[in-house]
């Protein structure tokens, strides 16, 4: 547990002592801020619609989701496995799982920071005398963070499978695209059972149906946690496999 916290702290520090993370965050905030104000203006000041939009109802955010987590996770394992830092970590009194989990949590924290912009907008509206319906706003935030967690875990797996960061980023990118476009891909085939199966693992519909409309559903919480856990488990196995190779 202590080792996990140490790894997490280190990764977070590693992210934020470099200006890159801040620049990424700044660009994302500028984009989401502009979208938020534009939507607010276009809907004639509809708070619910704008905040919901900013919680990831629309595609621009998920297009961002395809790029941001791979950029964060690509270095975490793959570069360290190349420059020997992974060897250093794996010979420290810290378990493989803690290493993977700590790194994942750091990337996840960054994503939560990215989504927190929505909470700040909602708070700003509140301050300007138009309080939003807070529980769904928080629910939407939670959902968006969970979805990005899934994307980050895919990134971790990809990062642990190769020691070339660019390749890791590309792999994670492909993985994310697959996750997003799974239902559309399934639509190309003519098989009802396939459509049903795909629908049961379709990330976006899970997100849209629950968190985004202000519904907390334990099934969906478990859905996201379980799949995130799955990818993290596979990532930690892949790290362990590095010992065997």
């Amino acid at each position: 547990m202590k080792g996990l916290a140490t790894i997490y702290r280190r990764e977070l520090a590693g992210l934020f002592v470099a200006p890159l993370a801040w620049i990424l965050l700044s660009i994302s905030y500028a984009m989401t801020g502009w979208l938020f104000v534009t939507i607010l203006k276009d809907t004639g000041g509809d708070i619910i619609a704008s905040v919901r939009f900013s919680s990831g109802e629309s595609l621009p955010y998920w297009a961002f989701m395809i790029f941001l987590p791979p950029l964060l996770t690509m270095r975490m394992i793959s570069e360290e496995s190349r420059n020997g830092l992974l060897e250093f970590l794996l010979t420290s009194p810290v378990s493989d799982g803690a290493v993977v989990l700590g790194k994942f949590l750091a990337a996840w924290t960054f994503m939560a920071l990215f989504w927190s912009s929505n909470l700040i907008y909602a708070a700003a509206l509140h301050g300007l005398g138009a309080p939003p319906d807070w529980p769904p706003v928080l629910g939407g935030f939670l959902g968006a963070v969970l979805v990005s967690g899934l994307f980050c875990s895919i990134g971790m797996l990809s990062s642990s499978l190769t020691s070339t960061p660019i390749l890791a980023a590309f792999g994670a990118f492909i993985g994310n695209v697959l996750v997003l476009l799974l239902p559309h891909l399934a639509g190309l085939f003519d098989a009802t059972w396939l459509h049903e199966e795909v629908e049961s693992v379709d990330v976006m519909s899970h997100f849209h149906r629950t968190f985004l409309v202000g519904l907390l559903d334990t099934k969906v919480l478990v859905f996201f946690s379980a799949w995130t856990g799955f990818f993290l488990f596979m990532a930690s196995r892949a790290v362990e496999a590095k010992r065997w190779r």
């Binding site: 200006p19 801040w22 104000v37 607010l40 000041g45 700040i120 319906d133 334990t218 196995r237």
Partner: protein, 527 residues
């Protein structure tokens, strides 16, 4: 891990095979565990949902649950949603999403009662043909609706109209400022309940047309008869029969609506008593006085006045506009009144769809209707009102009509030509088969003229009439599910300060803060 303890080393090939197997086994176990966990989490007993919205927008309400509980057997719901074209993409997707969520809620609430099937779009090459066949089987030709089927009964509920109403806004900026399409009302749950009830009702609702007092004939095809109305009602799932008080006796209990269309003679005392009894028990009446407007005991005028609706003697007229756009008077054609959307009541289930569809209602020789005293706790609503360019024509002393507004003698519009009176039943009558008895309401719809129902005008008035009969006979659909107001919160973005602050925070503040922090981090590193 056990590999390391081996004393005798196996060949490299076996080692690699073993590692491969281990990896695959790991993958499979993890997949199974994950899938199992998700599956477990979806079990009804283990699944919990918390609706965070202030209006509980995502929860089936008590009435809807009660209705689903009462369903006699499995109901199939087939969903045919397609992306909307511009400018409705976003709002269309929202409506689809919310409706689908409600359908899923219903299915999850009672998986043994409701079977949901989604039919996503499939291109002609890949499953499109099967999709077309499926649509044909269900008897639909368009998309963006869901079909509720029970046995061989089915009803299609359309997204635009029945599920939600939208305001198109001003997306093209052609007139004034840009306004995106917006949702006016969303009644997804009501539409679902309505569909469920419609297909599972044990009996088709029975509509009785009175006869024997000189009413219009329901089976005849002459211009002034009601044959077309009869056909349309049957097609819409009604059972239509005649009721002659002198032959049939009291009104049967299963009667969902009594139509009294233009009787020229008053009802007998006995028949009047039966009608009163029927109404008191929660019955519905659609009535239009005869052209001659006979008064006195047992007449339509008499019956309606007791329900709060007073029929005026004059005939509502309106100048005819000729080809040059000039008003023309002194023509019997002035007795024809056309009602457009501005004369229809908003939010009333009969007229609201007509307003949206920009339909008209044509009336000939219509009397005006006035508010009287409704029964206890009753509500009177004008649902059709003429414009101020109408007048109430009275016959001259010689009995002929001048078809010209006599300012001194005749009032000018607007006049009410259709009115509803609703009130709670005074006697709890029998449960009408197949309907929901959670709450009952007496419904009366009066029209100023029987001519609105006749074959000659039926094609124009069709929607209005069908809506009227549906409204009168399906009271429970609307009442059992209270419509929910959308949570609508707005901020006045027109105020420059508000926008200024939002811009300051969202577009400039946060990004610059991050840049600043990044710069600080970099600067501190350099030291």
């Amino acid at each position: 891990m056990a590999l390391g303890a081996q004393v005798k080393a196996p060949s490299a090939r076996i080692v690699r095979l073993r590692i491969l197997i281990t990896v695959c086994l790991n993958l499979v176990i993890a997949l199974v565990l994950t899938g199992g966990l998700v599956w477990l989490a979806g079990r009804p007993g283990l699944r919990h949902r918390v609706d965070l919205t202030i209006n509980q927008e995502n929860t089936l309400d008590e009435n809807a649950r009660a209705i689903i509980d009462q369903l006699p057997g499995p109901v199939e719901i087939d969903v045919f949603f397609r992306p909307f074209g511009p400018p409705l993409e976003a709002i269309g997707a929202q409506i689809q999403g919310r409706m689908f969520e409600i359908l899923i809620l219903a299915e999850e609430y009672a998986p043994d009662k409701i079977k949901l099937t989604n039919h996503p779009y499939a291109p002609p090459g890949a499953g499109g043909a099967e999709l077309m066949a499926e649509m044909q089987r269900l008897g639909i030709s368009e998309s963006n609706l869901f079909v509720v089927s029970y046995g061989d009964r089915r009803v299609a509920m359309k997204l635009l109209g029945e599920v939600a109403e939208i305001d198109l806004g001003n997306p093209t900026r052609r007139q004034g400022a840009y306004r995106p399409p917006s949702l006016v009302s969303f009644t997804g749950l009501q539409s679902l309940v309505k569909g469920l009830l419609r297909v599972t009702q044990g009996e088709k609702p029975l509509i009785l047309f009175t006869s024997g007092q000189g009413e219009r004939a329901i089976f005849e095809s002459e211009d002034r008869d009601l044959g077309k109305l009869h056909t349309a009602l049957v097609a819409d799932g009604f059972r239509v029969e005649k009721w002659d008080p002198s032959e049939d006796g009291a009104i049967p209990e299963e009667c969902a609506g009594l139509a009294i269309i233009g009787p020229e003679e008053p009802f007998s005392v006995e028949a009047t008593g039966w009608i009163a009894e029927y109404v008191r028990g929660g019955g519905s009446i659609i009535a239009a006085p005869g052209l001659r407007l006979t008064g006195g005991q047992g007449s339509v005028t008499d019956i309606l006045s007791r329900l709060g609706i007073i029929v005026q003697p004059g005939i509502i007229c309106q100048p005819v506009i000729n080809a040059a756009g000039m008003p023309v008077f002194e023509s019997p054609k002035c007795a024809e009144v056309i009602l457009r959307s501005d004369g229809m009541r908003t939010t009333h289930p009969i007229t609201e769809p007509l307003r949206r569809g920009d339909r008209r209602v044509r009336l000939i020789f219509s009397h005006g209707l006035e508010r009287g005293t409704p029964p206890r706790e009753g509500i009177l609503l004008d649902i059709l009102r003429t414009t101020e360019y109408t007048w109430e024509e009275f016959p001259n002393e010689d009995g002929s009509f001048g078809w010209r507004w006599d300012q001194g003698r005749e009032r000018e519009g607007p006049f009410t030509v259709a009115m509803t009176s609703t009130f709670p039943p005074t006697v709890m009558g029998p449960v009408i088969p197949g309907t929901n008895s959670l709450q009952r309401e007496c419904r009366v719809l009066a029209l100023g003229t029987p001519e609105a129902f006749v074959n000659a005008l039926f094609d124009v008035n069709r929607d209005f009439l069908i809506n009227s009969f549906n409204w009168a006979s399906e009271r429970e659909f609307r009442v059992s599910v209270s419509p929910r107001k959308l949570d609508d919160r707005r901020i006045a973005v027109g105020q420059d300060r508000t926008l200024f602050y939002l811009n300051l925070i969202a577009i400039w503040g946060l990004p610059l803060l991050c840049l600043g922090l990044g710069g600080l981090a970099a600067w501190r590193r350099r030291r």
